[in-house]
């Protein structure tokens, strides 16, 4: 549901990339478009790069826009999933 929204992906090498979420898969590999490096750009400037593919295993955090996430609904979804797994 966050496809098309802006997120910030923080990697394990301390690089933070802001971009529009293009797609994500089962391994949480992430594709971003229109990326820019947030934070002071003391890390490799990826000025020429506009789109990127990030392997899921190198992600530390993904910062989501707060108003695009319904936490109550998320809790419900987690409860339902836990119930399903038990059955």
């Amino acid at each position: 549901s966050l496809v098309g929204k802006d997120v910030v992906v923080e990697l394990k090498n301390d690089l933070s990339i802001c971009g529009t979420l293009h797609s994500v898969d089962q391994y949480l590999n992430i594709k971003l478009t229109d990326i820019s490096v947030t934070d002071p750009e003391k890390y490799p400037h990826m000025l020429s790069v506009k789109n990127c593919f990030i392997r899921g295993s190198v992600v530390r955090y993904v910062q989501l826009p707060a108003d695009e996430v319904d936490t109550q609904l998320l809790q419900d979804a987690a409860r339902k999933e836990a119930l399903q797994q038990k059955q």
């Binding site: 549901s1 898969d25 478009t33 506009k50 609904l73």
Partner: protein, 548 residues
């Protein structure tokens, strides 16, 4: 023909050995080819094809013939047969971008799966066929990972990587809505709007790739790419998307409803109710996410969309209802209770959504059970029962639970809950300092208040005035403690209730919301009382009520 049968009835099995299929072909090829020859004759006669046919014809049956040539012929024939079928079955699908219809594509996949011996000579032969408008792709069956996944997987529906992303550089990489990306219609609309309005930041003049031709472009045809994407999509199919992908479906349903409501205020809603196009489900094979191989030690982890890695069987054992007496375990107990209540609440809400025919017998019994569990009324002592309830309310989750539950409960139950809350207001306010979540309760409680009878209202007000056991102050003093709320109270008494209402709603930021809750509750009670007084001009209540 036998081969035709083979190509149709084999289940889609990415990992099944290629060798077995080839082995099966060989002995039967003799008889199987003769009808295929006819098929080949019908379709076309390119040079290479004739050559291949010729090699077979020249060889006497029964002799050892060149297996490679035979395979080529077999592959060729099967492809042609499929192309025939493809052509006649999908005449109308000229441009795949127009038709988001995966059903046809599923059929195509069914037929293509036998093309695993892509010999370059054969491929070029097929490509040269002029008569077919539409070439079936000839996928080189890649070496599938060694996991013995023999069945499609189920899981949440994620939008698959757009095939256009993988293709030629002439297409830039904005968020293309390929026909294969199964997004909720609402989601699609939002993305389209975004694209129209707000993507000028990406400069239109600058091309994302350089002008030189890319040597790696167009290695795969569109159909090949579609086939690969379809392979992924099959894994994402699910029979019950509302359950498997609960969050996504519900979120966009809510969004759509909200937008529809807003539209109704303005112009008429032009969004039709969504008809979600689900991919055609071929086989619903259940799978075991953990595979045990005989004679081996341990398990093989099969990775799926739903559970990419399942390394161990982590099942919690041990009893859950152990009384340890520690404070943390007490809190855990409360949380555990809340979760159980939540599951019941979710059931009720689900039942509500399906059949809006409100009070059915089953639902009311469920509600009653839930209410009893909430109030822990198995204890005869009323105070203990209230205590259990208060414990639930002290947790933010508990407040959310009660707030969501209140609309469902029958009136008398909500009244009793309201009375319990007003009686123990100071405690609640004190415990809410960290969460500041009491306001979630205000809306449903406000609705409840507006339906109170006079007698119940008085009970509530009395509750505010009395000091509950275990607390040193009366609820009303807690509420009026703060300088500002006292001013609010003053406004009330002078009849400036209107302006007070606006003031509280405007959100005086320096007030904590829990205190706001208290004063708002008091205000709501009093205003309702005023209403009742004004309506009941012919007062039949005994005078004791008035004095109270």
């Amino acid at each position: 023909a036998a081969m035709a049968k083979l190509s149709r009835t084999d289940s889609y099995s990415p990992g099944v050995g290629v060798a077995t299929q080839a082995a099966v072909y060989l002995p039967e090829a003799d008889s199987a080819l003769s009808p295929e020859e006819a098929a080949m004759e019908q379709v076309c006669q390119p040079e290479e094809m004739r050559r291949l046919q010729g090699t077979h014809l020249n060889q006497s049956p029964g002799k050892s013939y060149d297996p490679l040539a035979l395979k080529e012929v077999l592959v060729c024939a099967s492809q042609l047969e499929e192309e025939e079928q493809n052509e006649e079955e999908r005449e109308e699908e000229v441009d795949p971008d127009l038709a988001p219809d995966l059903e046809e594509e599923e059929e195509q996949e069914e037929e293509e799966e036998e093309n695993d011996l892509g010999d370059p000579a054969v491929l070029s032969a097929v490509r040269n066929i002029q008569t077919l408008d539409y070439l079936a792709p000839l996928p080189f069956r890649p070496a599938f990972p060694s996991t013995s996944t023999a069945a499609p997987h189920f899981g949440p529906r994620l939008p698959s990587p757009d095939p256009s992303v993988l293709c030629s550089p002439s297409t830039s990489w904005p968020l293309r809505l390929s026909h294969l990306t199964q997004l909720h219609p609402q989601h699609q609309r939002i993305l389209k709007q975004q694209q129209q309005h707000g993507r000028p930041p990406s400069p239109p003049a600058k091309k994302p790739w350089s002008q030189q031709p890319d040597p790696y472009a167009n290695l795969m045809t569109r159909k090949e790419k579609d086939w690969v994407v379809k392979v992924q999509m099959v894994q994402l199919q699910s029979e019950n998307p509302r359950l498997d992908d609960y969050y996504y479906q519900e979120y966009y349903q809510k969004l759509e409803k909200k937008q529809a409501d807003e539209e109704l205020l303005g112009r008429r809603s032009r969004f039709e109710s969504f008809k979600l196009v689900t991919p055609y489900i071929q086989k619903a094979e259940a799978y075991e996410s953990v595979v045990r191989i005989e004679g081996s030690l341990g398990q093989v982890a099969v990775s799926t969309c739903f559970s990419p890695r399942r390394a161990i069987d982590a099942v919690p054992h041990g009893t859950q209802e152990q009384e340890t007496g520690a404070a943390s375990s007490q809190r855990l107990q409360v949380l555990y209770r809340i979760e159980k209540l939540f599951l019941q609440l979710l059931e009720i809400e689900e039942g509500q959504k399906d059949g809006p025919a409100q009070p059915c017998e089953q639902q009311s019994s469920q509600l009653e059970k839930l209410f009893q569990a909430l109030k822990t009324q198995e204890q005869n002592n009323l105070e203990e029962a209230a205590d259990g309830f208060l414990q639930v309310l002290s947790v933010r989750k508990g407040k959310a639970l009660v707030a969501r539950l209140l609309p469902f409960l029958p009136r008398d139950r909500t009244v009793s809950l309201l009375l319990a809350i007003t009686r123990h207001l100071p405690l609640l306010v004190k415990r809410d300092v960290a969460d500041q979540a009491l306001q979630t309760l205000f809306e449903p409680l406000g609705k409840c208040i507006s339906h109170l009878t006079f007698h119940e209202l008085l009970q509530g007000l009395q509750g505010l005035m009395l000091q509950p056991p275990g607390s040193s102050e009366r609820p009303v003093t807690v509420v009026l403690q703060n300088q500002v709320t006292r001013m609010g109270g003053f406004c009330l008494s002078t009849g400036g209730s209107r302006c007070y209402l606006e003031w509280t709603q405007g959100g005086a930021a320096f007030l904590t919301s829990s205190l706001m809750f208290g004063i708002s509750l008091l205000y709501a009670l009093l205003s309702h009382g005023e209403q009742l007084m004004s309506l009941d001009s012919s007062l039949e209540e005994p005078s004791s009520d008035h004095t109270a």
